[in-house]
């Protein structure tokens, strides 16, 4: 084989190799960009939802301070504000940081349990000190979630 033919073959081989390697690198970059985009999408969804949770708890507190009532409508609103989490739950692993993921899961799990628990307790026509204390306890519990939601937002 003469040197000229050798160069042509080498060029073809290298060209094919670069195409394969280049294609692989391109694919990797594309995957990385998609992951970044999904991560940002999940974070935005959760931040918006946490904002809503903070707003609703703020209204619950304000209403309780003014009327000593804890209307159930706020619990219904809060229950509908775990949708983004439920939607992204199975893709949370794309978020970086074990601790962050753990905090998100814990927050929503505890919030869901507390809302289930509060559902049959909010609002009362009773005037007994026990009934009033029960309403106060619900508001205190929600206040804690408000703080946790603010902390979580900072981490996202």
């Amino acid at each position: 084989m003469n040197p000229e033919t050798q160069n042509v073959i080498l060029g073809a081989v290298l060209g094919a190799l670069f195409a394969v390697v280049g294609g692989g690198v391109g694919k990797k970059i594309e995957m990385w960009l998609n992951l970044r985009q999904e991560r940002s999408f999940i974070k935005k969804g959760l931040i918006d939802e946490l904002d809503e949770i903070i707003t609703v708890i703020g209204k619950l507190k304000e209403t309780f301070e003014q009327t000593s009532q804890t209307p159930k409508s706020y619990i219904i609103d809060l229950k509908s504000n775990i949708e983004a989490y439920n939607h992204h739950r199975h893709r949370l692993f794309v978020l970086q940081g074990d601790d962050l993921r753990h905090k998100i899961i814990q927050f929503y799990r505890k919030l869901k349990d507390s809302l289930e628990d509060a559902e049959g307790k909010v609002g009362t026509l009773a005037t007994s000190p026990q009934a009033k204390q029960q309403q106060k306890d619900i508001v205190s519990k929600m206040e804690k979630f408000e703080q946790d939601a603010k902390e979580l937002k900072k981490l996202l």
């Binding site: 049959g120 009773a126 009934a131």
Partner: protein, 125 residues
Amino acid sequence: MVENGTEQLAVVKVIQSMLASHYTVVSNIAQEQHHIGGFFPDIIVMDKDNGNALFAIEVRKNGQVSHCIQQWKSVTPHLPATLYIVVPEAELENAQAIAAVNGLKAKFGTYKMKSDGGVANVNFL
């Protein structure tokens, strides 16, 4: 709808007059015209200032605590107000037990019937 001349009607009227000073109270005595979440409880109690529904009150129909609880079981998770089921004092424990078994998240109220047919001791728990 609440039927005329019944214990249920007497209880609904007493509750309405009890709560009217603090809340806006509407009932479905004459016909089913006030609804909450697509349902028609005997009484709907609303905030006087903003008109938001706070309580839905259902009074037991004669001998139908179980029916009443079954009826509301599927409604309460979506009901944007606290549900009260009002039963005779003597039936409270039974009603609470039926509610617990059925997973109904409601509060209870009680009353007593006097010998003259009047309603006494209406109490919300």
